[in-house]
């Protein structure tokens, strides 16, 4: 009898220990490899490195960042796909990489089901930007100039934005000369050097817009831009597609739920906290954190893939 009680106690103890370890904080089984899909030194890269730095200090995790650039995030996703799915491999890309770019890269052998989205950190303040000295106040001025016979050079930084620029022209019966530039920085340099007339800016233009040096002629989003509430949205301009998008952390498919929750929580809480270096930088560069995770994020990612296929057909 006594033996039985002892056994029961021991069993109970083991169960309790199991339960408490389930509630104990999840920790990665080894150093985390963080694949960054952006060029070293840019805003996106800095954001990822600062988040990693904070987590290393706060949680004691070891995070090894590595830049794998090119092909709109496809190279980074390729590098991530075959890594272990135990939480020791994550990547930061944009939702466009999981959506439009995966659909467009037919030969990549990748699909969106190869990945587990973790959390977004910030959204784009995507606008159509021009130098103020051009004299244009809103997007219809650009259309007018184009109809008057002026060739308009439209700077874009991804194939999706290229399609959207084309659709913007098509909706108004004009054709822009779209010029592919390297990142938002490339568009800003192109505008300043006079190589292009208008271009997409994903938030990099904010300082120049606020100082009056540049102007947001249109919002590329489904919503108004926070600093230029007068600029018309894509829908108002007669285009049913938009450039809504976010920076997003992903892991390979099959990541255990426990790890997914822990990683999403850890990453998003740093991004959302403006008191951290990372959060402060996100506030400054991208106008504040926008956190979407779990089922809601899954829904956004799969909707983006559908919309992309439709956009590609429309812009054919």
């Amino acid at each position: 009898m006594r033996k039985l009680v002892l056994t029961a106690l021991a069993l109970g103890g083991m169960v309790a220990a199991n339960i408490s370890s389930a509630f104990a904080e999840w920790a990665p089984p080894g150093p985390i490899k963080l694949t960054i899909a952006f060029r070293a030194g840019g805003g996106a890269d800095t954001q990822a490195r600062l988040i990693a730095e904070h987590l290393e200090a706060e949680k004691g995790w070891k995070i090894i960042p590595e830049n794998v650039t090119g092909k709109g995030g496809i190279n980074a996703l390729k590098a991530l796909k075959d890594q272990p799915n135990d939480g020791t491999a994550i990547a930061i890309v944009v939702t466009e990489s999981l959506g439009y770019n995966l659909v467009a890269a037919k030969n990549s052998g990748l699909s969106v089901s190869d990945f587990t989205p973790l959390t977004t950190t910030a959204g784009f303040q995507m606008g159509v930007v021009a130098k103020t000295e051009k004299g244009w106040k809103t997007f219809s001025d650009v259309i007018e100039a184009a109809k008057g016979g002026q060739a308009i050079r439209f700077g874009v930084m991804s194939p999706k934005l290229d399609d959207l620029a084309y659709m913007l022209g098509k909706a108004h019966g004009v054709e822009f000369n779209t010029v592919m530039l390297r990142g938002g920085k490339g568009v800003m340099n192109g505008l300043n050097a006079g190589d292009i007339d208008v271009g997409w800016g994903a938030g990099i233009q904010n300082a120049a817009v606020q100082s009056g040096d540049m102007v947001n002629l249109a919002s590329g989003l489904s919503t108004k831009l926070s600093i230029s509430p007068d600029a018309p949205t894509m829908e108002e301009l007669g285009v049913k597609f938009n450039a809504d998008g976010y920076f997003v952390f992903v892991a390979p498919a099959g990541l255990p739920n426990e790890a997914r929750t822990a990683l999403s929580e850890a990453l998003s809480s740093v991004a959302a906290d403006e008191a951290t270096k990372a959060g402060g930088m996100i506030k400054k560069a991208f106008g504040g954190a926008q956190i979407i995770k779990g089922d809601e994020l899954d829904a956004i990612v799969s909707a983006a893939a559908d919309a992309s296929a439709e956009l590609m057909n429309a812009a054919e």
Partner: protein, 529 residues
């Protein structure tokens, strides 16, 4: 914001940046410490025959990046160290040339002509002092030219050149470098073409990476560090190992005749060398500003023009160039040292590297990020601070600091370097090989990167055996992506005009110059350098 504001911000970024240590309550920034350390290392490297500045820059770059990380804060300390090496090696190259008749760096060959005879006459210390003063003067003069010219050239390019003309300018730069460097224009063009081919792998705008033969490790192209370190450093090491193999058993006769007599530079000597220093500094700076033409040509031209000047002026019974006179050393050292600063003019204003040292500065900027050498750096924004411009002025400040270090303690340090010449090559080469491979692995952390590097090393070796200069290869590799991008942009900006290169007079003029450079130099039958 005014130019003076940026100038001040640049100085502040260097002096008031993160602190390394403090002496007597005065804190010394990391950037300054790195300039100092780089300069001393540069002198050591320059004084060691078989080592050269670019080699030390190549090996230290990945190590520096692993120390300072990828934040924009890393830019100034890393640039500082590299610039220190560049300047130190320029001064150091004269040491073995004077003491042992073996140039420490290729451009110090002309220094042996008068330097070594002076050493044999027992005037080694005086010769080293002349070399130091001339080298430091030429270097400083060249930096001033850089600081004055680069911003204006950049602003001109941004203001007057449209995308098609920028494409034509890149084509001209590459053709110029290819035609000027190396054994012959044809060989230079082969080298550049191979560079463009290597740069095409894995790049391009399409989502499916090209030329990868299905290898995923090629999907983002060859990492730039494997191509640069492979061709430039490993290629050189392989070649040197082969030379050692041929020379084994032969005793290198070492001359050891320097007699250290105190040799202060008197006013009279300074007055005598002054006109030669000025002349050679002008020649070196003008040559340095053209991408691709290196310090060896500058040294040759400086020496030759000095020789002519001297022959006209001297009395018949006075010693001539080659007999061991200070003027000969001054003419050479001022010329080869004044190349380094001016060589950064095309780097900073156009993003076109002109020599191996400049390649490593571009490589550093590219790896760290946050600073893209090219015309957009010199945008004097009025409303907000342009951080790249602050870095550029920080760079200028550090060059001036390095000059100051050079003037004050460079001479003393240089004169204590005689021992470096005795390091045997069979000890040196394995160390370089190991350091280079480690450096590549630190940056890329993939075994594939080492295989790429060894492959590029073999290519570099074959090119050297065939007397094809590897420099056009490297520069074409670095510029290949830019050329393709700019050409694509020009094509789409002109609404898909296939003749965009002929769309304006400027562009056509640049293309005519491209053809002329290649044609004229081919007709001469040999390249300049």
């Amino acid at each position: 914001m005014e130019v003076s504001t940026y100038l001040w911000l640049g100085i502040e970024a260097v002096f008031a940046g993160p602190t390394a240590f403090s002496i007597l309550g005065v804190s010394v920034s990391i950037a300054l410490t790195m300039v100092f350390a780089g300069f001393l290392l540069g002198i050591v490297v320059g004084s060691t025959p078989g080592l050269a500045g670019p080699m030390a820059m190549a090996i230290s770059l990945p190590i520096l990046i692993s120390i300072f990380g990828y934040s924009p804060d890393a830019l100034l300390p890393v640039f500082g160290f590299l610039i220190g090496i560049m300047k130190g090696a320029t001064v150091g190259g004269a040491v073995p040339a004077i003491l042992f008749n073996t140039p420490g760096t290729p451009d110090a060959f002309m220094t042996t002509l008068d330097g070594h005879p002076m050493a044999r006459k027992g005037e080694a210390a005086r010769a080293l002092r002349v070399a130091h003063v001339s080298s430091a003067s030429g270097d400083t003069f060249s930096d001033v030219a850089l600081i004055v010219c680069a911003p204006f050239l950049a602003i001109l390019v941004e203001a007057y050149l449209d995308l098609p003309e920028k494409t034509a300018l890149l084509i001209l730069s590459m053709a110029f470098i290819a035609a000027v460097v190396g054994g012959s224009p044809a060989k230079g063009l082969i080298s550049a073409a191979l560079g463009l081919l290597a740069a095409s792998v894995g790049t391009g705008e399409d989502f499916t990476p090209r030329l990868t033969f299905g290898f995923d490790s090629l999907a983002s192209g060859f990492p730039i560090v494997t191509a640069v370190l492979g061709v430039l450093i490993l290629g050189e090491v392989f070649k040197a190992i082969e030379e050692m193999w041929h020379e084994r058993g032969r005793d290198a006769a070492t001359t050891n005749e320097q007699i250290q007599r105190p040799g202060r530079l008197d006013r009279e000597t300074l007055r005598r060398i002054f006109p030669y220093v000025v002349r050679s500094s002008l020649i070196g700076t003008a040559i340095g500003a053209l991408p691709g033409i290196g310090s060896t040509l500058a040294a040759t031209l400086g020496y030759t023009s000095g020789k002519l000047l001297h022959a006209r002026r001297k009395a018949d019974d006075e010693p001539a160039f080659g007999d061991g006179i200070p003027e000969g050393i001054a003419a050479t050292e001022a010329a080869n040292s004044s190349v380094s600063g001016a060589n950064l003019i095309p780097v900073l204003s156009l993003g076109v590297p002109g020599n191996a040292a400049a390649v490593f500065l571009i490589l550093a900027a590219d790896s760290i990020g946050g600073f893209n050498p090219g015309p957009s750096v010199f945008r004097f924004t009025t409303d907000s601070i342009n951080p790249e411009l602050v870095i550029a002025f920080g760079l200028f400040t550090m060059m001036m600091v390095a000059n100051l270090v050079n003037w004050t303690i460079g001479g003393v340090f240089m004169r204590s370097m005689g021992a470096m010449t005795r390091i045997p090559k069979h000890r040196l080469l394995p160390v370089i090989l190991l350091l280079t491979l480690t450096a590549i692995y630190i940056q890329e952390t993939k075994m594939a990167a080492l295989w790429f590097a060894v492959g590029f090393g073999l290519l570099g070796y074959v090119m050297r055996r065939l007397a094809i200069s590897p420099l056009p290869f490297i520069i074409a590799f670095i510029l290949g992506g830019r050329l393709e991008e700019t050409a694509r942009q020009a094509f789409s900006a002109t609404g898909g005009d296939p003749w965009f290169l002929f769309s304006s007079a400027t562009s056509i003029a640049l293309l005519v110059m491209t053809v002329a450079v290649v044609a004229v130099l081919s007709a001469r039958g040999r390249a300049l350098v």
